[in-house]
Amino acid sequence: MKEGKIILDKGKFQLTLERLSHQVIENHGDFENTCIIGIQERGVLLAERIIALIKKNHKKAKFQYGKLDITFYRDDFRRRDTPLSPSSTELDFLIEGKRVILIDDVLYTGRTIQAALSALQDFGRPLQVELLTLVNRRFNRHLPIKADYTGINVDSLDEAYVKVEWNDEHPEDRILFFSADKKKQ
């Protein structure tokens, strides 16, 4: 595989996460009525990092945290070539009347978020839902969905591919960009 182009290196990656956590703290104060939900699987990695930073930067912050799997809510069931395998949902609280921060790593077509919003309905009626994403691919939306907190904006052709690498499974945190002809992982 050819190396992708690094669009966010280790140092800037950490800065971006810090900024996102501060923006969340700014909007949610003591998090009294807020819960954070990471979308399985890669959104959970981001959510856990953001949560660690919120706790470090704001000792008083107390909130519920859950993981949401959206496989059963996808709109491409029986339409895609290979079926997807579900991950676990670990959400042991209701979101009725709460402010929800939904976290995913890349916002692309918006269909994952649409599925997540329908999945959330099964856990109650939230007061508000916000979206936090590390990469926002602005030119490729299929649905009227936008992020409230964005790490980095990437404007590229549909065929290009953006990959977030985390230091738990890769040598270091970084975001790579693969142009159309090199997109295969």
Partner: protein
């Protein structure tokens, strides 16, 4: 892990692989979480229509399938032979073709004739799920049984499972044997000699006629009822005598050094194969089996549906 079943139909455990079983269990884990939520429903099968064709009586399996279908948001058509044109002399193929021309995608069928689901699978273009065919197989029961055992014991490789009762007439026994052997468990069948097939050891199971020894050995005892409705001749002198030799009661359980987990696919004949105090005891997981039945059937329906592209 595989993401797709190797087969278009679930006709029996004999015809699926170990990987298929593991994929079904993995998917069922996630559906179990869904059915324990306040809102127990996902939209996955909203464009799928399922026909439940029951040519033989059923309570548990039928309700379980119907719940599984509804919790996946499928449209459901119910059919029972007692209230249908079957009584007027219609053939199985005609009945099913008529139902299919109403645009049904999947068929869940229970039928008294062994092989009836295979017959349909060869002739019609829908996913077929066998919900019990005569004395042949009852695959979803075996899946939920093995899933429940796995919850109690972890990986079933090398675990000791006893199947006790009327083995000869039981499709649950046969499907259980195929499933448990594929997962690497050791299986012993136990019952009166007349109710165990002569060559059953060719399936890789051991045979015992001694209930106490079998229970001492086993990690799990899956207890089956005597299927009087399938017995054309007298296989045992009386139910009372059967119960004396092969019924499990509290006194027997209390006298064991090792008490196995007690399972039963239902319906229980209380006082025959299990006494009431055993069926309701702390060793029994009969009601967990029922809950796991819905999750496993959801997994099977979901995985079979996911193989088909929207038409």
């Amino acid at each position: 892990m595989n993401q797709q079943l190797s087969t278009k139909h679930l006709l029996g455990i004999k015809y699926i692989t170990k990987e298929d079983i593991e994929l079904i269990f993995h998917t069922a884990d996630n559906f179990k979480e869904v059915i324990n939520r306040p809102i127990k429903k996902v939209p996955s099968l909203r464009d799928v229509t399922v026909a439940n064709l029951f040519f033989e009586n059923s309570t548990r399996t039928r309700i379980s399938f119907e719940l599984a279908e509804k919790r996946l948001s499928a449209d459901v058509v119910n059919f029972s032979a007692a209230a249908s044109s079957v009584k007027k002399g219609e053939t199985l193929l005609d009945t099913v073709n008529n139902i299919l021309s109403m645009k049904v995608d999947m068929v869940v069928m229970r039928h008294p004739a062994p092989g009836a689901p295979q017959f349909l699978a060869d002739r019609i273009d829908a996913n077929i799920i066998n919900a019990g065919d005569g004395t042949h197989e009852h695959p979803t029961q075996a899946l939920l049984d093995a899933y429940s055992m796995r919850e109690q014991l972890g990986n079933l490789k090398g675990k000791k499972i006893a199947i006790i009762g009327d083995i000869k007439h039981s499709r649950v026994a046969l499907s259980n044997i195929y499933c448990l052997k594929k997962l690497g468990a050791k299986v012993v069948v136990c019952g009166p000699p007349t109710l165990i097939q002569k060559h059953i050891s060719t399936l890789g199971v051991d045979v015992s006629y001694n209930l106490r020894e079998t229970l001492e050995w086993a990690d799990v005892a899956n207890v089956l009822r005597i299927q009087l409705e399938r017995q054309d001749i007298q296989y045992i002198p009386s139910l009372r005598e059967y119960s004396q030799y092969y019924g499990i009661n509290r006194a027997l359980l209390d006298s064991l050094k090792n008490v196995p987990v007690i399972m039963h696919p239902g319906p229980i004949n209380r006082g025959v194969e299990l006494s009431s105090d055993v069926a309701d005891s702390e060793h029994s997981i009969i009601l967990q089996q029922v809950e796991n039945g819905v999750a496993n059937r959801m997994a099977v329906l979901y995985l079979l549906a996911s193989r088909e592209k929207l038409k």
